[in-house]
Amino acid sequence: MAKIVGGINVTHVPYIGRAIANNLQQDEYWKPFFDGFPPIHDWLAKVKPDVAVVIYNDHGLNFFLDKMPTFSVGAAPEYQNADEGWGIPTLPPYKGDLDLSWHMIESLIEAEFDITTCQEMLVDHAFTLPLELLWPNQKQCPMRTVPVCVNTVQFPLPTAARCFNFGRAIGKAIESWESDARVVVIGTGGLSHQLDGQRAGFINKEFDLMFMEKLVNDPLWVTRYSVPDLVELTGTQGVELLNWLTMRGTLPGDVSLIHSNYHIPISNTAAGLMAMAAE
């Protein structure tokens, strides 16, 4: 059976793409963010995953409001990045893992998650940048991948409890996959930020730090909050932390924190990073 080696949560602001393209990693503005990664690179070199399941939200590249799924799972041989409207150069395609995709789809529907299956799928910055940050300076990402999208665009969003349980079902699916592959799960987005409205620029450091702390040993803590609570506490885009929570749900048993980092601001966002090893 496949093994989940652990999980990583990381912010996905588009702006990061520009910093990488222009080699700004050691600039004053960017250093506190990029310096979070080397310990996680070391851990990845040690646990050697073959496949990355990436849990993120699409920002209007692959999905529009005509067909907006709550949860969707990719099942394509390859995933293309594409222009999101800013004319930023697109990244090379990502290898899929069709065996894992279909095994997950079968397990998730059996477990009564009503997913949308995507046999063709464009992946946006929320998928590409975390992979770029975690496996830097490569011509093409060395992982096989399975994209999983959570709707954080069109309200109502799935509840925190539903997301955690969705993560649990993904974890069980991976662990019941007849393969000797080593799998890392990545959740992207957040932490607190709000792009729109008179409250634009809202950040909540206190909540973010509590959330990161609880996520290790008491992840159900966050399920006490409704989605509107989470908007109030973390901002209209801060709710992307649902992707972090879904990732955490995938990890079986107890976890140990490998490394974490938190820095304000990157663009309008509180930038968080956490890696956890599965026991």
Binding site: Y15, D83, D196, I264
Partner: protein, 118 residues
């Protein structure tokens, strides 16, 4: 015509729920089209004509032509889609944040830095 549920009020914040989505569909669909460079060029050539092609309301068209983000949100625009419109004009998230909060860009950036210090 709108949902009858009691809504959570969060000052300075619009939740993109069904009511917003109903109002904003045409505007958001236009913004979604900006994933294509050809469409962005077509929009820049004739902004008003491009808005008309997507059947925007007068209120939406006015908000787009004046590049007024708060008015676009009031007219049903969603932040994720509106960002593609902002990108056409080279606006970054601090420009957009400053405009909405009535601050200078420098003051808005200072406010963000401040949030990291408490």
């Amino acid at each position: 015509m709108s949902t009858t549920r009691q809504k959570r009020v969060i000052p300075g914040t619009t939740i993109f729920d069904g009511d917003q989505a109903r109002k904003g569909y045409a505007l958001n669909k236009m913004c979604f089209s900006f994933n294509s460079a050809d469409n962005r060029a077509e929009f820049l050539k004739d902004k008003e004509g491009y808005c008309a092609k997507f059947h925007l309301t007068p209120e939406q068209t006015e908000a787009v032509l004046s590049l007024n983000v708060l008015k676009m949100i009031a007219a049903g625009g969603n932040a994720y889609f509106l960002a593609k419109l902002g990108g056409i004009f080279g606006l970054d998230m601090q420009d957009i944040g400053a405009q909405q909060t009535g601050m200078t860009k420098e003051a808005f950036k200072a406010k963000l830095v401040e949030a990291g210090k408490n």
